[in-house]
Symmetry: C2
Subunit: 242 residues, 2 copies
């Protein structure tokens, strides 16, 4: 099967600790530049960067005693625009971005004790900036996905999803294409960027502090315009579970 569709995905290592003083795109650019050989970023690749390093680089850090449950809840309530459900100290919230996730997306792992990482203010903009910076530094036209780890309704376990994107079409709209029986497919709008975030998480691991991955082999038709806020966040009036 030499021409069967295929993809490869690998972790980007060697970024070191990212802080508000870091030039994240500059650090990424060094890690995935020509010195990376076969694994150097190329036009047509998709770069996935985790929320945590984006939040750190953008200074989205606030003081928080990790052992003070009341302070945690107060911070979550401050960051959320709405609390959908509450069970003990777990709050299922809607953020100002329209994301529905646990605890307003506030992150306590892999940040220093006494500090909490908030979500980037505008993760689509974060993705656009990284994309523009890497185009400038490396001369590549890529897709960028900012990923975060969310729980889901009805299913146990967390998976990584896209909270921001640039240079890649968030939804692959197969409506109007025909299935193998020649009939028109309806309502098959695949959220490609969430599937890409999930694939990237498989190589990034949670404890190894790997904050980025590269996916190679996407059809060039996937690259294009769009953002998570416009295409993926479901409007409350279309939502049956809010």
């Amino acid at each position: 099967m030499p021409d069967a569709p295929s993809l490869s995905v690998w972790a980007v290592t060697g970024l070191g600790e990212i802080t508000p003083e870091s030039d994240l795109a500059g650090v990424l650019s060094e890690a995935v530049g020509p010195a990376a050989g076969d694994r150097a970023l190329r036009t047509g690749d998709v770069l996935v960067v985790t929320q945590k390093v984006v939040s750190k680089a953008e200074g989205r850090l606030v003081p928080l005693d990790h052992h003070d449950e009341a302070a945690k809840v107060a911070l979550v309530e401050q960051e959320a625009v709405r609390v959908l459900r509450r069970r003990g100290t777990l709050l299922i919230t809607e953020t100002q971005h329209g994301f529905v996730c646990a605890n307003a997306g506030i992150d306590l792992s892999n940040v220093k004790d006494g500090i909490a990482a908030l979500l980037p203010l505008d993760p689509d903009r974060s993705a656009r900036r990284i994309r523009a910076d890497l185009r400038r530094s490396l001369g590549v036209e890529i897709g960028v996905v900012i990923s975060d780890t969310f729980g889901r309704a009805w299913r146990e376990g967390v998976t990584d999803v896209a909270i921001g994107s640039a240079g890649i079409r968030p939804i692959l709209d197969l409506r109007g294409t025909r299935d193998a029986m020649g009939r028109e497919l309806v309502a098959t709008e695949v959220c490609v960027i969430d599937e890409i975030a999930a694939a990237a998480d498989l190589v990034m691991g949670k404890a190894a502090n790997i904050p980025a991955a590269i996916l190679r082999g996407c059809p060039s038709s996937w690259l294009g315009e769009g953002s998570v806020s416009e295409s993926i966040v479901r409007r409350p009036e279309n939502d049956l579970f809010r």
Copy 2:
């Protein structure tokens, strides 16, 4: 970065049309046997097979006029154990497996007009059978995931998830491991098999009639016991959105 974690995933092609007369594991075994060269199935790989071919091979087909909306709704109501939400002819349902999905998972695409494909009765068992048959025919110890395309609450677009599995641990439990700051990670239970189903969907496409994919490069620690029904389906008493 020669030793950065990496994965590759590719589509399995050349299966031909699967019918209730097909020996699905036999057909798969030919397609991914030694003749496939570098892409032959090896011990440690994960094979993802879509619900559609499993349903067809298991004869989970019933007559249905695709243009009769009332008949469609009646079939959905018959297959569902509960209807959670209803909007026009879209029903968000709970199936007898405990899955929450649109229209009881009934599938009208890539099946002949006049026919609907129902979900496999026990997709974990389907996965176990495929795994045992391929062990017998090819001598490989693999993970098997049966995938299907589900919508989600709060986010637009569909993604592929696991509805059955065998030979792979559904949840990668990182509780008790330590993050890069040396602190214990809590509540990081990654649903690896859903992320694998998503990665496989990136190469399978919806219209090209590709019903399987192989993922290579999983850490051997991922292989093991478990099933979707035991590990992924959230018990109603733990569910905040039912």
